[in-house]
Symmetry: C2
Amino acid sequence: MPTPPALAAWHHIVASRDMRALADLLDADAVFHSPVVHTPQRGRALVLAYLTAAGQVFFNPTFRYAREVHGTHDAVLEFEVEIDGIQVNGVDMIRWNDAGRIVDFKVMVRPLKAIQLIHAKMAAMLQAAAPKGA
Amino acid sequence: MPTPPALAAWHHIVASRDMRALADLLDADAVFHSPVVHTPQRGRALVLAYLTAAGQVFFNPTFRYAREVHGTHDAVLEFEVEIDGIQVNGVDMIRWNDAGRIVDFKVMVRPLKAIQLIHAKMAAMLQAAAPKGA
């Protein structure tokens, strides 16, 4: 099955480590599901904020995709990365619509030690990105 | 893409909640990767013990597969289940060989509250299943 355009666009963003193209790739009603929290984050602006923070946490030189499975509107990309000496293994689960815009982005991480690390890192990153004085 | 036989066999085991057919489906050198612990569990006997314990923890009446993506030798099955009032969302990542035997089985779970619950439940289940006097 050839790589769907939305998935190719995501790979380009990851390879270039340039999250600026991401806004155009996200549907206005996109939803983000964090590995840490149950409640979904809804809307392009929030999804962009979460994925940008995630990029800063995950995209160090050891980050690599290890396995990929995709259908017509869904892909699961397994990744491996070492952060602060801890092996992090996870999946990006991406769903797009007929227009090729991402409508749903879910991340899961293992093992427990890694999810605890990501919890701490993401909280710090999102706090640093929050509007000052808010 | 039609459902590969190994994946169809796994779905049959899950639907029947009958783990006895699982031994035949596992390759002798199968590996299990837990959502909690980094170290892989190697060999059919250990994988069978882990998946049987996992079946007892996960397969209550609320368990359902919500999404599935597969290639020729890999599948990712997303599941949802409520355990002790906690929403558990996860993936079964299954890889099989040309003979249709499962060689690799990895589980990831979100959110953090759910992985903490699974940690406690699996430890209790594996301890109960350990040989007496060992």
